[in-house]
């Protein structure tokens, strides 16, 4: 029996890999998406290596020097405390990316489980679970996140949870509709007849098959999460000093933009470029992975 089950799984994986190959060929023809992927990969690498490659220490300051324009020693200039902007932006990017990834991961886990369970069991459980999603959709979450940050203090962990709690709703809907269309197919029936438990079927056979749309939506969720974090940090309700993020750097940049515009412009470029890259990558992945929306 176990032999049979591995065999059926292998066949399925073969079909899956050809889908991925297809997708990769399509994606590699899309230059904007490749550019997005390149930016994303280099950002991740830079973030991981920041403590090693940053030109100055995070807390290093030079009050006598103060704010200086970009120069050979300080490529992106220094802020009013004489801190190197390139270093600040690199460390800020670590936080911004981390919020983007972790909050998206929270949303992914909740959304996938919720959607898969609702879609798999159907019936009354599905009705109740999706009704909850509908109700939550109607809530103005931006306001609620601000409220949460006010009530419980501006805590980075809470920020992850609050943003993740907002973003899982769409994911749950996507996964549910996928699972519903999959659950009556023959390979699921075969898994049932092999005596696999329902949880194993959901975990090993249904969730992996929803990955395409999930990956697309994840790529598009990361920039929207990063934007939300920057928005809150800009208002002073997100990341708190001494931690730093791009939103917070933009906030500081605005205060002194009249005399030292580069303090606003460089973190702004970093944030916009990242959002740009991720959105292009997401669009490209959607074209590559979702046959329904592919052009022509």
């Amino acid at each position: 029996m176990s032999n049979l089950s591995t065999e059926s799984f292998v066949i399925q994986e073969d079909q899956g890999s050809s889908l991925w190959q297809d997708a990769w060929i399509k994606l590699s023809k899309n230059r904007l998406a490749l550019f997005g992927l390149a930016v994303l990969v280099s950002l991740i690498v830079i973030s991981l290596l920041t403590p090693l490659i940053a030109p100055y220490g995070y807390e290093e300051q030079n009050l006598d020097m103060g704010a200086t324009a970009p120069s050979l020693q300080h490529w992106l200039g220094t802020d009013i405390f004489g801190r190197d902007m390139l270093t600040r932006i690199m460390y800020g990017g670590r936080v911004s990316l981390m919020v983007g990834f972790i909050a998206t991961a929270v949303a992914l886990v909740i959304g996938i489980l919720w959607g898969a369970i609702a879609g798999f069991y159907g019936g009354r459980l599905d009705a109740i679970m999706m009704r909850i999603v509908d109700v939550l959709y109607a809530l103005p979450f931006m306001i609620f996140i601000i409220l949460l940050m006010v009530v419980f203090g501006r805590n980075i962990l809470l920020l992850f949870l609050a943003i993740g709690a907002v973003e899982w709703l769409t994911m749950a809907r996507i996964v549910r509709s996928q699972v519903m269309s999959l659950r009556n197919q023959e390979f699921v029936e075969a898994a049932h007849s092999l005596g696999l438990s329902q949880w194993t079927i959901i975990r090993r056979h249904l969730i992996p098959n929803t990955l395409g749309p999930v990956i697309v939506y994840t790529t598009l969720t990361i920039p929207s999460v990063m934007l939300l974090e920057a928005f809150l940090s800009f208002l002073g309700l997100g990341i708190q000093p001494p931690e730093s993020s791009w939103g917070l750097l933009i906030n500081y940049g605005v205060e002194t933009m009249e005399e030292f515009p580069w303090l606003l412009i460089f973190p702004g470029i970093a944030l916009s470029l990242t959002l740009f890259a991720l959105n292009f990558l997401g669009d490209g992945l959607r074209d590559a992975l979702d046959p329904r929306t592919s052009k022509d």
Partner: protein, 311 residues
């Protein structure tokens, strides 16, 4: 249609009740009382204050009395602006925020729809790529970055427009409206391009062309109505976004509207003001979502028949 609208309106009631309940208990579970920020205040004063604001009663009693007040549209006094009620503060800020949101929406609709339709008429040409790249930049340029940059260029370097205020100097409404509207113009451009592309490939458009109608007439009279349905459905969420965006824009341009009050209330820990404004803004957003859904259904005969047939 009316029955459907009524049904949706009734569904909004439990949502609103949940908003009130969750907000109330969240705010009341906040660590530290609302007066704990003040310097050493004598206990008698705190007691008097608590009595004044009904804080000496058990929480559930406070909840029900608050609920009763809210149903009658009374959000109570503000903690920090002594002598002013939350209602007064909302009444002072609402017209300003409404005007800002209106202008921003106007910018978004005019720029967004013209760009999207222009792109859809000649897909995969320069007339498509230029506005769509512009839209992508608009989406990736958040208001808290765009606003300061506009101020820097048009307010400080060129000195053409005032850098802050609302209705004090001529032209001071231009920059905030553009700042708030741009992001939505970008979304609307993408939505209207998608909607128009789909409609333009339909049979009834081919029929119109076969009849020999002018291209302008086809677009304006036949295609726009169907092509803009996604835009109409987006108006509800866009409105919610505009309110959140007004937090930032009103802070940047120092505009005394609802958004600025909300952010200040958040910093001042003005619990009654936050509570009242959360409930007020949520109600607005839920109502606007409802309205834009209704409008989208009314515009789309297919959906309308589905609903009327389902009765």
């Amino acid at each position: 249609m009316y029955r459907f609208a009524l049904g949706r309106l009734l569904q909004a009631i439990p949502v609103l009740l949940m908003v009130i309940t969750v907000t109330f208990f969240l705010v009341h579970s906040a660590p530290g009382g609302p007066f704990s920020a003040d310097k050493a205040v004598p206990p008698e004063v705190i007691k008097a204050l608590e009595e004044q604001y009904n804080l000496n009663q058990p929480v559930w009693k406070q909840y029900f009395s608050y609920l009763g007040d809210v149903v009658q549209g009374d959000f109570g006094p503000s903690f920090k602006y002594s002598g002013r009620t939350v209602n007064e503060l909302i009444a002072a800020g609402l017209p300003i925020t409404a005007e800002l949101a209106f202008y921003a929406m106007l910018v978004a609709l005019i720029v967004g729809i013209s760009a999207g339709v222009a792109a859809a008429i000649r897909p995969n040409t320069l007339q498509d790529y230029l506005p769509m790249t512009g839209a992508m930049i608009g989406i990736c340029m958040p208001s808290f970055l765009l606003g300061p940059l506009l101020v820097l260029v048009f307010g400080i370097y060129l000195d053409w427009l005032p850098v802050s205020g609302w209705g004090d100097l001529p032209g001071d409404k231009i920059l905030p409206s553009i700042t708030l509207g741009t992001g939505y113009a970008a979304y609307i451009a993408r939505l209207s391009r998608g909607g128009m592309l789909e409609v333009l490939s339909q049979d009834y458009i081919r029929t119109a062309r076969a009849k020999g109608l002018s291209e302008r007439l086809i677009i304006v009279k036949h295609a726009l109505r169907g092509g803009l349905i996604p835009v109409v459905a987006f108006l509800g969420p866009a409105f919610a976004g505009l309110l959140a965006g007004s937090f930032v824009v009103e802070t940047i341009f120092q505009i005394p509207g609802l958004g600025r009050f909300y952010v200040q209330a958040a910093f001042n820990r003005d619990y009654t003001l936050i509570l009242g404004m959360t409930i007020f803004l949520s109600t607005l957003i839920i109502l606007f979502n409802l309205l834009s859904d209704m409008l989208a259904i009314w515009l789309n005969p297919k959906l309308r028949h589905e609903i009327e047939g389902a009765k």
